[in-house]
Subunit: 300 residues, 6 copies
């Protein structure tokens, strides 16, 4: 049988797959001239941010002390341009997915996006300052670490926390979609899943990291350390009259300063882990824990 | 000492590494004219499938409603061509790795492969229909989700379940090797490890996902939800007379409709979790659970 | 407002980010003519090693039995060249990050690096021999596996253990930084985090693998099998007079021959799991376990 | 001397090269949000046009008769999108380079560009019809040609005339800059330099082609054949009061139908080569030639 | 006006361009499973041949004397594989373009192609021997040349003559289409147009080269040197009863040993330029020239 | 016959091609750690130079007036780094190809190369100044040109003269090999062959350009204009006692200021074309021409 005998099968499949009922809700229609959220551009945005924040460690550039400002300058300009486009794309995307269809919607313009991008860039020095404390925390928390450079080059927490801190800033500027894509990139790269809405203090670190989940309404103080497999999740969520989860309710834990949570512990619900508390590995916690306490696994 | 002094060391290593005893069992010999299983082609196959199933969300194309059939048409044709080649490669690979060497083997031809590829493509509309229910399940199950588009773009479950549903279809068509490679791609990308042999109903979702394992003989009903770190594994497996595990025995759990399994729970063996049951986080389950029951962690 | 109005904001950010106080400790200054540790080169080094160790399975080459030595030859030569450069980069990096600044440091030259690279390459036949036992262990340990080829192509443990065995060899040759980068590549790809300093015997395997952590001072015997989510970690680490962890102390478990550790078990501290012992899933172990014993989860 | 001693030299050069007097007239300033004429996009536009006009011969696509419309559809859509952007870029570029600075200029918008792009695309069927006659002319004019396919694949005239016919259409639609870039691409590829402003009839061919020059105001009839090295140029051009050449005057030859011009002949000025005339190789012609005449080289 | 208003125009163009009458003769229909002549593969074939013939000068490889055989081995194997595929594609292409449609045609199989590819590869040592004489001729003929290496790296004649000698060998093996594509690649790269059917002796060189044309039935002896712009062409060609040129007639010049032809000279027709003759620049020659004579331009 | 039957043929060819007598003089042996002249790096060097000299016209960068110094800074730094490496490669190459083998040769070090690269970069502002005059000359000499930007974007002379002016500067700094490779890149791109040793004044232009040849010892004044196909060549060259051409003798024409040479004219030998002279098309000139004279083609 000749291969061309499959033409009918293929044509039939194309026809079914092109039927509008078939792709309802699964199709993102392009509007001419509007920018599209682009995985490729967002990956470049993350690369550029890492190159700017940790010059010489990320990117291919061979940066000297005396010429560092040329590199930062070129990278900031490219970042501004890509971010403006992607933020505009995110705003368009957010708009079309807002359920209230009978409200007259104003198409987000390039200038609005540029203004947000500029505000984001003005926060980069502050982001670098806090990331420096995260590098310190990772270094002083791991006896196997030999120098700051090794931490920045190799440790997955640096990639995860950098993406989170970038994404959180965009989230605070009300950019839709983009922040979550950026933290999911780090999730795929490191196994660490931090929601961009979470609030995290300085000197934060996670050792090993695979399997960590930090929910959207978490509040984490300073000097907090987590190990692999820790979940800071929601215990349950109230349903609305249609049986769907109500959005926007504070439902994840608060960890005060100096808390340590060991591997595979699970902390659920809007509870508070008090300042300086230690939560042992594999522990399941659903009620608040006083400051300074030490919750450990019973012996098997 | 000149660098060329290392020539002897290198030449010696090349010679040892080229010795046929050295690479026994670790070498895949190429036969002229036979297609090779190719990671690159399989990655493209996954991309194309995602582009066809969720038009406008994956791929770079700027798809309009009126021209969508051109895009689907070109993508389906490329998919058919690559799949035919890779299925033939998989069949060749499967053949040469079948232990019974004294049976006369028929070399799989291109036409057999094309016929399988065409059958797979004719299933794509059905695959899209069930994936639409998975998107719904993810959306209604997460208070942090803002729209279907965000789910499709960002949520790791969509990548994992799409690869699984593709791979499962190929598995049911008796294609060797390829299905497992496709699910392992999603495993690497998302930390979710679903064996292509598992059976999974509609409206399936996994939240966060890292560390989830779903074994080859699992049967999962409709409206099932898992959280990160859940294992649906084998408890133990009977050995044959040589002390090796016997292949092909049903050894993983059955989850009936509407089951929820919370994070890091472990369910092992050919047991049944009854309709509507809830398994709490960090729970270890090795015996069947009646419908509607609620198994939770004792308080620490 | 014209976009160029953002020029001031951008220029201000560039200026702050180029301030030397801002990037202190986060900047890797390039020295002309010195090679740089390069993620791209190291990824190629891993690819080349995989191509050499498992000819025909990794890489694009269409290798025949009679021409295999040409392929091994070309790959070994490229590997030697890239490794020499990267090892020199690693030595330079290690040097500049050594804290004792008042010691006169000898710049590592290319010849030192080449000598280490040559010694590494002379170990490749031995690395292949032990990897062959790991392939066997994975095959005989999984009823779902159909042939050795499937193991090599698909199973994440092969990627993780190959990177570890390469990295460990470089670690034993006192190459700084590079070994950790190589194991973190596998960590990102597979979710399996093995420190290059760990010692691991032959016939080692890990099933599924996501979330496994094996610490720097672990000692693992022969025929050991782990499942996903297993942690072999440190219980605590003594602090020095400044309150920082003391580096270099043996603090991770010893697993003797024939040990099996099931999913999500956590074994902490310098304890010994005796020959042939079995540790059940989700178990928390902080004290030594005698040979042949079987530690299991109590029933919930 | 350390390499960093060159810092002063480099910094000095950067400073001089960034001085605005230094780059006056050699700098193309970017305006945010405006598209830029892009060599990469224009190369893709040429590729797409060739793929659409000669399906299956250019591009990588494996086109079948029954699925050809999918391929044409996707290519036309991408062409429309790229052309719209590049035409807008060309219009912006043309505007800013118009000397009359005191006229109020209307910024060309995307819709104007799209309208031109659509008109261009509606001409593609006609362009294909005339290119079919050019293929015929090349085939019947060369005893070494074996089939139409060889002409389309290999003969430089096909690349040159295709680019010219595309560029001429854009030129007639008053698109600035872009037409010339497109013909210069063919000039670089083939050594054939046809100005997009020239008018050329059907069944046109050039054998070998290197060194051919066809000026902006040439008018060439049907069934004309040129050989390599032929110049159809301007004899001289009147100067304006400032001694600069006056733009826009008809100054290149008219070749009527059925003319043949042999290799390295030079025809200069607004003269007419009459229908069916033959101009011999290496001939220098600056006055009109009657129809049917035969101008040949005197014997040496 | 919204951009989507152009949909009708685009759809109309797609429909016309997909009409089978529109693309008659301009369309290359793909048959499933048949290899396609591929510009990309042929460029790689040329690169590989250059790498094999001039090791260390072309390609990226860092070739040593002791490991050169690994490099040659890998390159020859890749060349054999690509050539086999492309020759088969060429044979299929040639077959379908043979006019006599009523003859039963045998589909060329992979084995026929492989046999031709192997014969070609067995000629490579001889091709290298004659190319070595061409390098010598270029070196001794140019006072500006400083060493053999400069000739091989920079001089366009080396690229042109290498492609010609490869293509001529394939032409002698009756491979359709491919030889011409290979010489046209060099034509585009260097401006030198040598038909693969021409016969050229050893120690051949061309200085500068742009604009040189060497026709299909030329016969060129040993130690011949040409300059830029030289044409060795056909004077005229007899027509058949339909007025089309008769194919396959010897119609280009014979240049005996030791002939020199200066720049822009034109030699036309089946004439003989005798041994040791010199043809001056810009000369037009249409009759045979005796051995040893010197034809020069009259003084202006 | 199985394809593997060709193994013998291939192995035989590899063996012959790896024989050291076979590749004598055609092989460039790599020395570990020495940089290699690299076509890829040199193409990047040309790109970078064009980006620096004509900011915003070449390269992808979206350069603004206020941030131009960042772009120039980054490009100059990369140019310095690549040039240093390639100049060192050129010096090594030059050394090994110097015939006098009994002289003790000093291996060129990186610092020597860096010093030359820095001197080259300090000349870039001067190179830009003279290129600005070349742009002017092209613009005022062509009635079809619409603005400076069109000249810079499209006109082949700009690419040819830029490469020449860069290459000439390196030639004056005694860098071997590299200058010629750079001018040959422009030769391939434009058909214009200018030897890097030629001396060319300001306001130089060539119209169309294909086929122009400018020899190594040419001296060209200011305001000179050439047309396509012009040769400024050597008439003959004296041979040494071995019958080889003597290197380094002035043998190409001198063109004084304000000379115009029309298409396909050939000027040979160390003659002088006086100030303001005009040489007509297709003219053959081998004796000096007085200032202000007008040499034209006799009427045919």
């Amino acid at each position: 049988m000749s291969l061309s005998d499959y033409t009918h099968t293929l044509t039939q499949a194309v026809s079914e797959l092109s039927d509008k009922h078939s792709y309802e809700g699964l199709f993102h229609q392009y509007k001419d001239g509007d920018p599209l959220p682009s995985g490729k551009s967002l990956r470049r945005i993350v690369e550029l941010s890492r190159e700017i924040l940790f010059p010489g460690y990320f990117g291919n550039s061979t940066v000297h002390r005396r010429t560092i400002n040329y590199h930062i300058g070129v990278n900031v300009e490219e970042l501004f341009s890509l971010l403006t486009e992607q933020i505009q794309a995110g705003l368009c995307f957010g708009l079309e997915n807002t359920p209230s269809d009978n409200v007259i919607k104003k198409i987000p313009d390039r200038d609005t996006a540029a203004s947000i991008a500029a505000r984001f860039i003005s926060k980069l020095p502050e982001i670098r300052r806090i990331l420096a404390t995260d590098v310190e925390a990772a270094y002083y928390g791991d006896p196997a670490a030999t120098c700051f450079g090794e931490i920045i080059c190799c440790y997955p927490i640096i990639r995860a926390i950098t993406n989170y801190r970038i994404a959180h800033e965009l989230y605070m500027l009300n950019v839709p979609l983009i922040p979550r894509i950026i933290t999911e990139m780090a999730h795929s790269e490191t196994g660490i899943d931090i929601h961009p809405g979470a609030q995290i203090g300085h000197h934060f670190t996670i050792d090993h990291g695979t399997g960590v989940v930090i929910g959207a309404t978490c509040i984490i103080g300073n000097n907090v350390k987590l190990y692999q497999g820790v979940t800071l999740g929601a215990k349950s969520f109230p349903l609305d009259e249609n049986g769907n989860p109500i959005k926007g309710i504070a439902r994840h834990p608060i960890l005060e300063d100096d808390v340590i949570v060991y591997s595979n512990a699970t902390i659920l619900g809007r509870i508070t882990i008090g300042k300086g508390a230690t939560i042992g590995g594999n522990i399941w916690v659903t009620e608040s824990v006083p400051a300074g306490s030490r919750i450990v696994q019973r012996r098997e």
